[in-house]
Amino acid sequence: MTAATPVKVAPPSAAPAANSIDAVRRIAKDIARPNAADVDQKARFPEETIAALKELKLMSALVPADLGGAALGFGEVATMCETLAAGCASSGMVFAMHQIQVACIARHGLSSPGLVKYLREVVEKQYLIASVTSEVGVGGEMRTSIAGVTREGGRYAVNKDATTVSYCEHADDLLLTARRAPEAPPSDQVLVLLKKGDYRVEKTGAWDTMGMRGTCSPSFKVFAQGPEDHVLPVPFADIASHTMVPVSHVLWASVWLGIASSAVSNARAFVRQQARAKPGTVPPTAVRLAEVSSLLQTMRTNVHDVVSEAEDLMTHGGTDALSSISFALKMNNLKVAASQLVVQIVNQTLLICGIMGYKNDSPYALGRHLRDAHSAALMVGNDRILATNASLLLVLKED
């Protein structure tokens, strides 16, 4: 066979993404993982990992190309979250939460010149953005606010008492939900960009938690005023259903998948080491490993499938598809399923590794995985999500 086979050239847009995913893999292995235990123990921000991601310009991964961003797809960013979280779940979650904020501005803020200018700055300066959606007194309901935005003379002003603001003290800027106006009903909300210098915060609590300790998410009082065009020009209701909720569920699920994969890889290493000690016999733990590997595959298939469907809809689908009940249901189902599977999988790996998984100073240690995994069902409580789905199912018709 001498006929020349055409060389398959990847489309130009695919090349940088593949490179960045490889680079993130190296960051996960060389920086995030070696620091994960320290980040967890001290509940400290994973600054070295975030600094390395900034160097790769990945804070602007979702900024459109014409503003200088990498314009990566959600699928690529999801893979990055998964990869990072396998090294350090807190790092993966910080990265995921930042990308959610960028996605909201990039998809809903482009008609505001102030926000376009801001996105260019994100590209140039690699700002880290934190989210202030929580509030004291609303009982964890993101679609309800007490704080309201006042506007006067081209300026906004808003004060908010937030229950948890992840990496607040390490972020440059904040994205905050509030009522459109103080007299607006609680569900009539807007999203506001609070730029460094436009706000100050007062820490009102601590962050000493079971897991996800490196996200550093205490409670804060936030006081802000700034230019009015930093208020996103679309109702938060649309931003939430078209972008914030689907992107959150997709990226969170990817982080949890990273935790699960990492736990299973500890278990596999443990079983291999047992097998090597007694060649010719299959260690009894190998059956449990087979079982957990099937669970992991279920989780991975579910996450990847919904990620690619969400990416497709968010790239090509109209607002009708994004506001459809079936899309909301699917995104919520992913969140609930992935958050349950991650705990189930880590539990199983603990049974495989036994005392070697239980000990914190062992190479097979699983304590951090287990504690991090338990955050999944709580960040937007599964019961709340199931209640939403229950009411959506009352009106959904079969096709």
């Binding site: 506001s323 459809s324 009106v395």
Partner: protein, 82 residues
């Protein structure tokens, strides 16, 4: 039909303002209707007018105002013999 829609909104919309005095084109979400309340409004409308909103019509815009709700119901009941 408008007054029936207003009545349903009054009972199930949990609006911050009185549904009977609201303008036909007023934004119901700005009037305080939550997405949870909008599900109850849909169910009540389906029951009252004996219609089923197909999935394609189950979106925010359709339930945004009294006028848009009327339009949707008229579309669903069109061609029905009284």
């Amino acid at each position: 039909m408008i007054s029936e829609i207003r009545q349903i909104l009054k009972e199930h919309g949990r609006l911050a303002t009185d549904a009977t005095t609201l303008a036909d084109d007023a934004d119901l979400y700005q009037a305080g209707m939550t997405s949870h309340a909008s599900v109850n409004v849909m169910l009540a409308l389906e029951g009252h007018f004996d219609v089923e909103f197909p999935d394609a019509m189950l979106k925010r815009g359709v339930f945004a105002s009294i006028a848009s709700i009327r339009e949707a119901i008229e579309m669903l009941t069109a061609g029905r013999t009284a």
